[in-house]
Structures are given as structure tokens and as C-alpha cells.
């Protein structure tokens, strides 16, 4: 199957500092690729190049087989769902207006937007008649994140970009949201690029895991094979899952 997103020898430089170097990576249809790495490893930078929030210093990025540098950036962005921490919701707009934003930009009819918003609120587990008219300040962290995901899905984009979407949530809500997201992305058959520094989240949600270290791609592995990886950085991340068990034995 053709790759939906393709990074070809991508680099990103700020001044004389290399943030990313020589990245080659493809994301196939219907898979979730997790970009895993420490803070400062360049994972968010890589994600932001897909919808042209950042432009690569060298190399190229392809979306649906075409160079994104040749595509209209506004139309490109409307075809790519984007989810960040706390959802980045508009505080002055209702839940329904937030979710209906991209469809409205795309010129959908009011009635079609209303139907779509209700459908999506249902899909993310929020009752439309309760939540549609609320403002973001009236929502809990988990609810905001659900609305953020609904908003990203609104115009039915072929690709979702998620930048540590659940990092600000408490552990229980985060776990619920992770499970919910796994179900959703299966149900909607979405392709996703998901940034996290949480190895558990990566193993749970990823089809494949791309491990970044100091701006280089250290390893790309299927999620079920990742625990067998032997690279230094992979072992460092895997240790965070097993470490607590070891210290319990020591005690």
C-alpha cells in the first residue's frame, strides 16, 4: 500500500544547531506511527513539518504522494487533523462551534455541520444535547481532550497528528482516553502520527514505534517487537517500564 506520509532525508536546523538530521520515514495507510523520544529529541518538530507549521531545512515531506511544499498550506492543513494538549480549544466558542470549525472553513451547510457535530460528540462519548452548547471552561481536562479529538476528526481527514494529547491528564483519565483513542482510530480507520515520551502509551497505541534520539531516527520497529529491541535508547525507555518492579524486589 502507498505511504500516506513520507519523510525523505529531512533535516531541521535552527541557526547552526541541528534539531533533526537525515530522517527517512513512511507512514502507511491505516497505521498509527508513534514518535517516541525524550524532551528535545525532535519528535514534535518532525510532527509539525507534516502540516507545514515548520518547513524542513533540507529534504522533503510527501503527503498522499505529493510534495507538501507544492500544496496550498491552508487546504493541506484542513485535510490533516491536529490534536494538542488540552485540545487548544477556542475559549470563546462553544463545543459545537469548536468541532464545526474546519467544516465551516470548508463551506459545509449549517445543517450538515450540526449533524456531523452530534455524530462526533457521540463517537467521543459525550452526549450532544448536554455538551454542544457548553464552553471549554465548563469542561474537565478529559472532556476537553475528547472535544479536541472530535474537532480533529470533523472534516474526516485522512491523517491525524497528535502531539502528546494526553500528557496533561491524570493517570486514570489518560488510560481511559488511550483506550478510547485506540477504539476510535480502529473504527474510523485513521492513519495517525502520534508524539509521546511515554513508552506505555507508545506500546499501547502504536502500530509501529519510531524512536528518536538527539534529532536522529534511532530505530523503527513494530510495536509488538519493540520490547525486544536492543538499542541503547530503546533499552533506556524499556527500563522505565521494568524499573519499578526491580526496585520493589530490592526493598
Amino acid at each position: 500500500m502507498a505511504a500516506l506520509v513520507e519523510f525523505r532525508n529531512v533535516a531541521y536546523r535552527v541557526g547552526d544547531r541541528d534539531i533533526l538530521r537525515g530522517i527517512d520515514l513512511s507512514i502507511e495507510q491505516n497505521e498509527t506511527v508513534v514518535l517516541l523520544g525524550r524532551s528535545g529529541s525532535g519528535k514534535t518538530t518532525l510532527l509539525r513539518m507534516v502540516n507545514r507549521l515548520l518547513e524542513p531545512s533540507a529534504g522533503e515531506v510527501l503527503f498522499a504522494g505529493r510534495r507538501i511544499a507544492d500544496q496550498d498550506r491552508f487546504r493541506l492543513r484542513r485535510r490533516i487533523g491536529y490534536v494538542i494538549q488540552e485540545g487548544g480549544l477556542f475559549p470563546h466558542a462553544t463545543v459545537a462551534q469548536n468541532i464545526g470549525l474546519v467544516p465551516k472553513l470548508e463551506g459545509w451547510a449549517e445543517e450538515r455541520i450540526r449533524t456531523r457535530v452530534a455524530e462526533l460528540l457521540d463517537a467521543v462519548g459525550l452526549q450532544p444535547h448536554v455538551y454542544a452548547a457548553r464552553y471549554p471552561r465548563q469542561l474537565s481536562g478529559g472532556e476537553k481532550q475528547r472535544v479536541g479529538i472530535a474537532r480533529a476528526l470533523a472534516a474526516d481527514p485522512p491523517l491525524l497528528l497528535l502531539d502528546e494529547p494526553f500528557a496533561a491528564l491524570d493517570p486514570v483519565t489518560r488510560f481511559e482516553m488511550q483506550q478510547h483513542f485506540a477504539r476510535l482510530s480502529r473504527a474510523f480507520g485513521k492513519t495517525a502520527l502520534f508524539v509521546t515520551h511515554d513508552i506505555r502509551e507508545a506500546l499501547m497505541l502504536g502500530t509501529r514505534i519510531a524512536l528518536l534520539k538527539d534529532g536522529r531516527l534511532e530505530l523503527v520497529a513494530r510495536a509488538d517487537e519493540f520490547p525486544g529491541a536492543t538499542s541503547q535508547e530503546a533499552l533506556a525507555f524499556l527500563a522505565t517500564v521494568t524499573q519499578s518492579v526491580t526496585s520493589n524486589h530490592d526493598a
Partner: protein
């Protein structure tokens, strides 16, 4: 007799203030939007407007008097000085209101494919509106006070009483100008604060 004159000069005073604040808003708000898009111009302009603000008002009226066309004794000079004073709070609050929009909100607006114009109209201005209105309120209240001094260069308004009272060492006459000006300032503050709250989200 005195009462009739208080009403007439109050109306004149209010008119001076209204023209100055409306003109200052019309100049400052669009300029501020431009400045939010150009960081370097922002520093220079805010600095320059800050300096105007530090000139004592009586001195500024004095500076404007000898200028050709716009200067001279009369209302137009007074209004010009009042506009210059009203610019800063509106300019600064508009810049602060727009640049203060949560960076996550702006980022998600960009990422969803909104154009710069759409972001300005549908995200930044609505979110900045309470701050902008606060600037207009501050400008209005201070202009009501400053406008009393406009009488010194023939601007008219309630300052006429104040200066006449000072010349005649007549406290009652001074109060006939000062009290209505104070009431006007307090009322404007209350009304505009109510408007501000209505536009908060």
C-alpha cells in the same frame, strides 16, 4: 443661569472627549493590529507613543499652539492633543490583548487551516476585545480629566469654569467645572466597564 452654562459646557466637554476617543480608537486599533505582525515596528512605536504620554498636558497644548494649520488657539488644537493622549492606552491594550492570546489556541487555529485574516477576525479580536475595551475605557476617563485643561487654549468645555474660577479666586466657580467633570468620569468608567463585561467570554 449658572446651571444652564454648566449643561452647555458639559455637553461641549463630552463632545470634545467623544471626538478624541473615537478618533484615537480609529487610529490606534488598526495600527495595533499592524504592530502585532511586526515586532520591530512595535517596539519603536510603543516607545514613541510612551514619550508623548510623558509630556505634561499643559506643555503639549503649548507645543501645538505655534504649529501651522493644525495649531493655533481653538478646538481643533485641543482635540488633536486629546487624541495624542488617548492613543497610548488603546494602542497598548490592543497589542497586549492580541499578543496575549494563548499560544496553543493560536497554534491550533493555524494548524486547522485558518488564514491570517480569519485568525485575526474569528480568534484574536474576539479574545482581545475585553482588553481593547479596557483600553478605550482608560482613555475615555483620562481624556475627561485632560480635557479640562483644553480650555487654556480655547478648547472650551468644563475647564472654562476651572480657569475662570482660578482667575477670580472663586472656589464655587472651580467646583462648577470640577464636579461635573468628576461625575462624567465616574459615569463613563461604570458604563464602559459594563460594556467590557458584556463582551467577556
Amino acid at each position: 443661569m449658572l446651571f444652564n452654562e454648566i449643561v452647555r459646557l458639559s455637553a461641549e466637554h463630552l463632545w470634545l472627549v467623544a471626538i478624541a476617543v473615537v478618533a484615537a480608537t480609529a487610529i490606534a486599533a488598526p495600527s495595533a493590529v499592524f504592530l502585532t505582525r511586526h515586532a520591530r515596528a512595535r517596539r519603536w512605536t510603543l516607545g514613541a507613543v510612551n514619550i508623548v504620554q510623558t509630556i505634561p498636558s499643559l506643555a503639549l497644548f503649548g507645543f501645538l499652539l505655534p504649529l501651522p494649520f493644525i495649531g493655533g488657539v481653538g478646538k481643533q488644537t485641543a482635540v488633536l492633543a486629546l487624541i495624542l493622549y488617548a492613543l497610548l492606552p488603546i494602542l497598548r491594550n490592543t497589542v497586549v490583548g492580541i499578543t496575549g492570546v494563548d499560544s496553543m489556541v493560536r497554534e491550533s487555529a493555524v494548524a486547522m487551516g485558518m488564514t491570517d485574516g480569519q485568525i485575526l477576525r474569528d480568534v484574536e479580536l474576539p479574545l482581545a476585545l475585553p482588553t481593547i475595551l479596557a483600553g478605550v475605557r482608560i482613555a475615555t476617563v483620562t481624556t475627561i480629566g485632560t480635557a479640562t485643561i483644553a480650555a487654556a487654549i480655547g478648547g472650551g468645555g468644563l475647564g472654562t469654569f476651572v480657569f475662570r474660577g482660578i482667575a477670580m479666586a472663586d472656589t464655587k466657580m472651580i467646583l462648577a467645572g470640577a464636579v461635573p467633570a468628576a461625575i462624567m468620569a465616574i459615569t463613563a468608567d461604570e458604563v464602559l466597564e459594563w460594556v467590557e463585561r458584556r463582551f467577556s467570554y
